[in-house]
């Protein structure tokens, strides 16, 4: 059974320079209980798609149905069915953790008799029960994100949207957040819709849609996606790049990708291939590595580009800086 059905969805934005298509004729389904991931670089259309699904934006054309409610004709039913953790924080920092949850519970019509129990349960789950009466502006970034996850679950949504849930968090907090997500999936009957540009996070998903320039270019389980890569990935740096590239392509009939990291190609049975390759090479190899394919390789193969985690992080830093300046 599909909890989300999206058919030919498009979204155009008007700007001073003309219309921009943020989402281009996208169709996909999400099964009930699935952990579904949207993987793509910043500006690929992930957040726009989520905003349409959670009724914050109206689609230009196409149809989206969530929990069997159309997002355009039944926005209130859709909103009641979903929980959201936005990319940017959306807490009232001048209220306490408990007051933030209470506000949410009231807006979502959580009946008063169960409200307190549920708040207690969620606060315990994210390890913030002891801090329930503290103002949110005393919380760290990771605590705020955890509180937002607790808040998003308070009204027992069918689908929890996590838009870059670990963006800007340190690795330790990131793994904590993932512990909560995994716990949640075990305990609750819930579908999780995740957007990320971290490969490792996408690997956790049941299915991943790779999105680039507003279009879905592949959608499958991470394992199946990686099967598109013909075996293992070899990366090397050579003194004469062009010569090496031509030689490898001629000798082994593979296509060699070139970028600032060096040369990359795919080969079956990499472990036995590597010694033979090095022995035979008539160019100077500076370094060489062998690894199992990742979703990054899939993205690279499909688009010819890296997702560039680092540039995304710079964006965040710039944005936070800008925000600080405004205050």
């Amino acid at each position: 059974m599909n909890i989300i059905e999206v058919v030919n969805l498009s979204k155009n934005f008007k700007t001073k320079k003309g219309a921009i298509t943020a989402v281009k004729d996208v169709s996909f389904n999400v099964k009930r209980g699935e952990l579904f991931g949207f993987l793509g670089p910043n500006g690929a259309g992930k957040t726009t798609t989520i905003n349409i699904l959670c009724t914050l934006l109206a689609p230009t054309s196409g149809k989206a149905v969530l929990n069997s409610f159309d997002v355009e004709s039944h926005p209130n039913e859709v909103r009641q069915s979903i929980g959201l953790v936005f990319q940017d924080p959306s807490l009232d920092e001048r209220l306490t953790a408990k007051e933030n949850l209470e506000f949410h519970a009231m807006l979502y019509n959580v009946p008063k008799p169960v409200r307190n129990d549920r708040m207690k349960y969620m606060l315990n789950m994210v390890g913030l029960y002891d801090r329930r009466d503290d103002m949110v502006n005393t919380f760290s970034g990771g605590m705020k994100r955890r509180l937002e996850i607790a808040r998003g679950l308070l009204h027992y949504p069918k689908v929890l949207f996590l838009d870059e849930p670990t963006l800007g968090l340190d690795p330790q907090t990131r793994s904590h957040i993932w512990e909560y997500i995994n716990q949640l999936r075990k305990k609750e009957d819930i579908t999780i819709f995740l957007t990320t540009h971290y490969m490792a996070e996408a690997e956790n998903c049941d299915r991943v849609a790779i999105i680039d320039y507003g279009e879905i270019i592949a959608i499958d389980s991470p394992d199946n996606l990686k099967k598109q890569i013909g075996g293992d990935v070899i990366s090397l740096a050579a003194e004469e790049k062009d010569k090496a590239k031509k030689a490898i392509e001629r000798e082994y009939h593979v296509s060699v990708m070139e970028n600032e990291g060096g040369l990359h190609f795919e080969i079956k049975n990499g472990e036995t291939f590597l010694p033979r390759f090095i022995k035979k090479a008539d160019f100077k190899i500076l370094s060489i590595s062998l690894r199992r394919p990742t979703l990054e390789d899939v993205f690279l193969k499909l688009t010819g580009r890296h997702i560039r985690e680092e540039s995304a992080e710079t964006n965040i830093a710039v944005r936070m800086h800008a925000r600080r300046l405004r205050r």
Partner: protein, 254 residues
Amino acid sequence: MNRNLMGIYTIWLRDVRRFWRDRPRIIGATIQPALFLFILGTGLGKGIIGAFGKDLQGDYLSFIYPGIIGMSILFTSIFSAISIVWDREIGFLKEVMVAPISRWAVAVGKAFGGSTVAVFQGCLMLFFAPFVNVHINLIMVAALIPLMFLIAFSITSLGIVAAARMHSMQGFQVIMNFLVLPMFFLSGAMFPITNLPKWMDIFVTINPLTYGVDALRGVILGMNNYSLMMDVGFIGGFGIVMIGIAMVIFGKGE
């Protein structure tokens, strides 16, 4: 509908809670009108009282006192409404906009929240009465509170309309200079509005706060330019139009 009522109540509760907790704001919002009243009022009163002649029954301080109450309500109402822009900047507005309540209810909740806070602030001003030789009894208070609420609701709604499409706090200066200060100066808070130049008279007549100050002065000092019915009718009508526009703008979404 029930759901929307709950939404309105929730948004109202948050605004009141935040206000109550923000003591520096309460103190600041009390001191500012006090400065106008006691310093500006005393200074101007000494020089001007002769010029006004018999228009002013009693002294200048008690004349501007209802006007200063109006000013306090004006500033607090606009400030509360503008907090929508702040909520948008910190991202909290999103949480409200994806909640399963109709979006017009967000505007109404904000309007009630801002009005409640402004009435509270206006009531604090009543404690200044003995210092300006004005006697306020309980019957007057009973008339003043609904009147203050009506003024506050209208002006908060106006502020919500102004803030509805604003995306940064930089617009606040614009609102202060082009809306709030002109409304205050042209309301008859500081001087009688009889015998004004024609151009000024036009602005005074279309300014909703004029009728608010007139009604407050009517109840407190028994001085009226218009009838109480007319005052209430004008502010009430203005408020209905403004909250209507605010509801439509919010209903359309971001």
